[in-house]
Symmetry: C2
Subunit: 332 residues, 2 copies
């Protein structure tokens, strides 16, 4: 079923206000959940919302907390998220990175002690909308076996890279497992097989069955050993620079997943020379991509392109919601 | 066969001096080629050296060029590589990023108009040896089909991330294809199958045969659509920030591959508080990784760990070289 975007926002706003978020924070929080859903990422939008409220009620998420500056040096700052709502902490941190970048060309914020940021892509769109390149990542609870091991000791640490462009921002938003846990749950709920192998079954063989993978807890890193190495270094950088926790210190219980570490980097592309050059070149890169001969009947698209199409369509036709989850949220 | 490290350096130094590099630049250039080989990456060390000399002789690489500052703003600088030797330009750019990071916490250098940087990991080790986190990447000639296409319109744009650590730096150095072109050539030369599928055969099926992949020119991006998206955004950022060329503007002929764009980011982890905390935490992350239960008999290692072991062994036992290539280099 589909609901109007403004009805979605209205319902979410009512619930987060009732959960105790201050007015202005509540608006931003509801918008971030609604926009993820609008953009087709319900797994990290509406579908995650009941757990978010549960974590407020259990005291894991502190609705009144605001991030606090711990230390600053030139273009780099370290912040403490004080266990506040993860999406608000992430938004504030990217906003701060953008502000530093406007002054110094580059802005770098390391955030400790925060909660799940929900859809990471939100902070990429935020950066691109502000006209800057945005790069951010988070660590997660242990959910990814390092290459060569069967035990989930690494996080699948989503990485977001956004490049602003008048003709449509390019926004890459990817977990370092071949499929995010939310995506696996989505395939499972729809009774679909994965398009490619996404992890291992109980026998240690690669499989396209999402249920087998969620049962074995052996997700596959992108590029095998490469994604495993990338997950490790992103955790190392986030935890040590933020002065926070690394994945192995985070509870593997999803409703106790807290104390995360995140990085937000903004780069202002406007240099005295050649801003028009850069815009033209970016368009050329996208034109070249679009002109790539497609195999099968698929179009060749850039990261974020389908998101923009989904957003436009859902604003007109309504936002697709899972009826059961929507009923749950309406009763919250 | 194996040759002593100092004999390798001596031979390479003689050739680059004869090729016209100024004395101090010749030493650095020979060392970078020798160290890549010493570390077990001959594909981007000794085995690439004859082509490097060929590109000097053909005028593609200008031995007398030095990178020139184009513009600066706060923590970000843009440089022109002036088609100088790619490894020297990259080394100088990372050195400049490190110097900015020592002042401002973060240093960001975008380099245009350069040549192949050979082993990307070299600039990660360089940053880590200087005590800073280093992140760098390069675009390449078109050698990777975007997801959904059969034509190599993207580069496999290697990405390097290095984290300094007293107990052994963590250095990730990976092309965004499942195997670099150099690695595929290595498997082909040794008559070995790839450990996992690395690209497509002539029929459009995934294959572990390196010859089939080199023939079809259809390498597989890591994580399928994810590596494809990552390659696109890294090219976009490097080319637009550097004011340089994007992959689609670079010749697909390897001996004419020039005018590359690269990014060098350095982050100084030493903040007034908690430097000891960060070092302890990094060690804990590595201990947790090492304690992961291994499948089969493989050890679970961090990126760079085997490199350090290889380096130590080859310093004692001699550096493995391909006898034919070594003979060619000695005659250069």
């Amino acid at each position: 079923m589909r609901v109007a975007y403004e009805d979605l926002v209205h319902t979410l706003l009512r619930v987060v206000l009732a959960a105790g978020l201050p007015l202005e924070r509540a608006h931003l929080c509801a918008r971030l959940f609604a926009d993820a859903t609008l953009d087709g990422v319900a797994s990290h939008g509406l579908n995650r919302f009941p757990r978010f409220i549960e974590m407020i009620r259990s005291g894991v998420v502190d609705v009144s907390a605001r991030p606090e500056l711990v230390e600053a040096r030139g273009a780099i700052e370290r912040w403490d998220g004080c266990r506040g709502p993860g999406n608000l902490n992430a938004y504030d941190s990217m906003a701060r990175a953008i502000a530093i970048a406007h002054e110094q060309g580059v802005g770098f914020v390391a955030l400790a002690n925060t909660n799940h940021w929900m859809r990471g892509g939100s902070y990429g769109w935020q950066a691109a909308d502000a006209g800057v390149i945005g790069i951010c990542w988070t660590n997660t609870l242990p959910n990814l076996p390092p290459w060569g091991s069967s035990a989930p000791r690494l996080g699948n640490n989503p990485l977001v890279i956004a490049v602003p462009r008048a003709g449509g921002h390019v926004v890459l938003d990817m977990a370092l497992s071949q499929f995010s846990v939310g995506a696996l749950s989505g395939y499972q709920a729809r009774g679909e097989a994965l398009p490619v192998a996404g992890g291992y079954d109980a026998h240690g063989d690669l499989t396209r069955d999402p249920s087998e993978i969620l049962a074995s807890n052996r997700l596959l890193p992108i590029g095998y050993w490469k994604g495993s190495g990338l997950a490790l270094v992103l955790d190392l950088i986030a935890a040590t620079l933020a002065g926070g926790r690394a994945t192995h210190q985070i509870s593997s219980d999803p409703v106790q997943e807290t104390g995360l570490s995140q990085i937000f980097l903004a780069i202002d592309p406007s240099m005295p020379r050649d801003t028009a050059f850069a815009a033209r070149l970016a368009d050329e890169v996208i034109e070249n991509l679009h002109a790539s001969p497609a195999v099968d009947t698929a179009r060749v698209t850039f990261p974020g392109e389908r998101t923009l199409e989904t957003r436009r369509r859902n604003l007109v036709e309504g936002v697709p919601v899972d009826p059961e989850i929507w009923a749950v949220v309406q009763r919250l």
